[in-house]
């Protein structure tokens, strides 16, 4: 949900081809460049949303859901646009995603013992 949100809303100002990921010399010409300032604007809006949500008289679980969903959305925005993951090849995705999958797996397999084992 947030992935498509971030990818669709912040692309813009495409000038020509992908930056750096191509075999071309990185300084040789124009590249697809997101609107970095617009991305920053959305990051600030999301920051405000998470801070306001933390102060609202909502159920604790609802607050946690909002603030961590916002964190994931912000991380995706930074990775996709500022780190140019949108333009990268599969190898970079593989390197980036593998430890994240390992980490989620590690947490899940430890959870029954540490959280529910007491």
């Amino acid at each position: 949900l947030f992935g498509s949100f971030s990818f669709r809303s912040f692309t813009f100002r495409i000038e020509s081809k992908a930056a750096f990921a191509s075999e071309d010399d990185m300084t040789s010409g124009e590249s697809a460049r997101p609107n970095y300032v617009a991305v920053w604007g959305w990051l600030v809006v999301l920051l405000v949303v998470s801070v306001v949500a933390a102060y609202l008289p909502l159920p604790h679980m609802a607050i946690l859901l909002v603030i961590f969903s916002v964190a994931v959305a912000k991380a995706l925005l930074v990775a996709a646009n500022y780190m140019h993951l949108r333009f990268e090849k599969w190898l970079i995705y593989a390197i980036a995603i593998t430890p994240v999958v390992l980490l989620i797996g590690l947490t899940l397999v430890l959870m029954p013992d540490i959280v529910f084992g007491h």
Binding site: L43, V78, E88, T98, L102, T107
Partner: protein, 199 residues
């Protein structure tokens, strides 16, 4: 298969992957960093769930200060990526300005963090004050060390840019330093709700 193509800019591109070698190296490094910070965060989450939460302890951190520092770091990511864009445009002046702003914002983040630490220690919330505070100082301290390393890297690039040496086939390092800087930003994006908002 292992042929390396060296471009005019100094970029080395592996024929097998079509990706600059330095970029692949930095992403491998970041992958290991994900495990370092991720392991800490996973421990924090599991212990917090297991012990029923540390609401009282966590309520003593300053959410306004944490929010301001988040804004500072998010803005530094913008200036860093603008420095990269300026490299692409071969705009020397903008590269210098945005690298300077990134260094300044990084130092601002560290200054605010130092003020926060001194305030908390002054109130008796030392790393020994409880499990929450142990995690708090370990995670934010390790993160601050990474910010410091990023500031030093960016400062080195700024000095090279000011001396006119950045353009002698090493300008692609601005992108590599940027990847690291944005990663440090992403780590904070998760530390902020974990430590400052989920009380």
């Amino acid at each position: 298969m292992n042929e390396t193509l060296v471009m005019e800019s100094g970029l080395e591109i592996r024929a097998a992957t079509g990706i600059p070698t330095g970029k692949v190296g930095v992403w491998w490094f970041l992958a290991s960093e994900i495990m370092v910070f991720g392991g800490l965060i996973a421990c924090y989450v599991l212990f917090r769930l297991a012990s029923g939460g540390w609401t009282e302890e966590a309520s003593h951190v300053s959410t306004p200060i944490g929010s301001i520092n988040t804004l500072v770091l998010l803005t530094s990511s913008l200036t860093m990526v603008e420095a990269f864009a300026a490299v692409e445009d071969r705009d020397h002046k903008r590269v210098r300005i945005f690298l300077f702003l990134t260094v300044l914002l990084g130092l601002t983040f560290l200054g605010i963090k130092a003020y926060e630490y001194s305030t908390e220690v002054g109130k008796g919330f030392t790393p020994l004050a409880g499990l929450f505070w142990s995690f708090y100082y370990t995670m934010t301290g390790l993160h601050a060390l990474h910010v410091l390393a990023g500031v030093i890297a960016n400062l080195a690039l700024l000095i090279m840019a000011l001396g006119g040496h950045l353009w002698s086939k090493v300008q692609h390092r601005v992108e590599l330093a940027g990847l690291y800087w944005h990663f440090v930003d992403i780590v904070w994006i998760f530390l902020f709700p974990l430590l400052y908002l989920s009380y």
